[in-house]
Symmetry: C2
Subunit: 256 residues, 2 copies
Amino acid sequence: MATQLATPGAAETGLLTYQELHDRLRAVGGARYHHRHPFHLRMHKGELTRGQLQAWALNRYYYQSRIPIKDALLLAKSDDPAFRRTWRKRILDHDGDTDGYGGVEKWIQLAEATGLERNYVISGKGLLPGVIFAVDAYLALVRDSSLLVAVASSLTELFSRDLISLRMDQMRIHYPYLIPGLAYFQGRLTQAPEDAAFALDYVSTHAKTRAEQEQVIRALERKCEILWAQLDAIDYAYVQPGNIPPGCFVPQTDAG
Amino acid sequence: MATQLATPGAAETGLLTYQELHDRLRAVGGARYHHRHPFHLRMHKGELTRGQLQAWALNRYYYQSRIPIKDALLLAKSDDPAFRRTWRKRILDHDGDTDGYGGVEKWIQLAEATGLERNYVISGKGLLPGVIFAVDAYLALVRDSSLLVAVASSLTELFSRDLISLRMDQMRIHYPYLIPGLAYFQGRLTQAPEDAAFALDYVSTHAKTRAEQEQVIRALERKCEILWAQLDAIDYAYVQPGNIPPGCFVPQTDAG
């Protein structure tokens, strides 16, 4: 409702070439993707305590658990069996073929490696409202937008491989207790680039006007905001003392 | 969608008396209403700079500007002309009868008193995504819930008079440049208690089962979370340096 995407001004009427569109999208990622967020910078320098990593894994689980729901909402927008066949791979990647497999399960294993109880993670208790609102904004964006915009909102995956690769290296060095939980990231190293290539090709060929191209760019910006806001909420609540909102997860005192 | 409201456990089956329900609601307010938020505590101690008050007034404008939209969504849920007549007062309070009047306009005047340009405030530029997501979660809650839950989500007004009264006193002392912008709060001192009394009476008589009473309590909790999360985002971005998200309002350097 209030998350209407901007339409371009009168000056922005010339269709972008594929290269120009890709350059604009890459520029959005360079400036707004959450690899630059203070919480990630702290994570990669080894500055986070186990309790802070628990808070991150717990809250990020809510995002992970909504991804297949987001992809189902997106699937429901397409009347093209070929598109749906390709996109449903994402649901399979996250849900697996049977209990105990898939990306959602692997994220639970990461949360367990931080020291959280599986059942607590799944319960949804203790989550930061700010994270819930940001993730729900992603579901609403996909549900209430065109298929083109919904696909474009997945384009953050263009930038995720480098971040995940760096994160895995730094986690092995600084937080070796997480090593048993890194399977999720291992899988995403190959899944994310495949998914991103398909989505980039899709928006490149299906954005037929400059206005649609601007919608694609704005959708990527909004998705970057959705990822960034989750880390804002986590960084605010768990880095400075005294900021944990009422009812949210309180880490046990830890020494790092 | 993901903001489903909790249903009570098996032990919670006895209908609460009005007094018990009111006590439960007051307890939620005491623990979770944003009068306890660190940003408000700082505000009332006179610790905020002009730039921080600008960031607050700007972002909170987004909330204010959505209130009549929220009330229109709520109005659309009722098939009772008497209820709609009473509730539409809220839309009138915020929109006024003509340009230049009403609560939304008065909030713009408060933002101007902080030193912001009216057109910038109205433009919606520079807003924190975390604030947008929280406010949009309020609209979604009202839109997607029963009339009972939608009305219950307004019950934070039970607690607003004391907060507003304290805020006005402290603003006059610590931020005298805001005095020309306090008309919004002056109006709310009488509007909010009237509105809250009606809503409290409504939920007391229309929650017919314990499950519905628990929905009412949960709706108030969720609304508290929505208010709290807005201040989390503002406090995070504008109190410690280096945390303003990409593309958001940057105050001019100020000395307080």
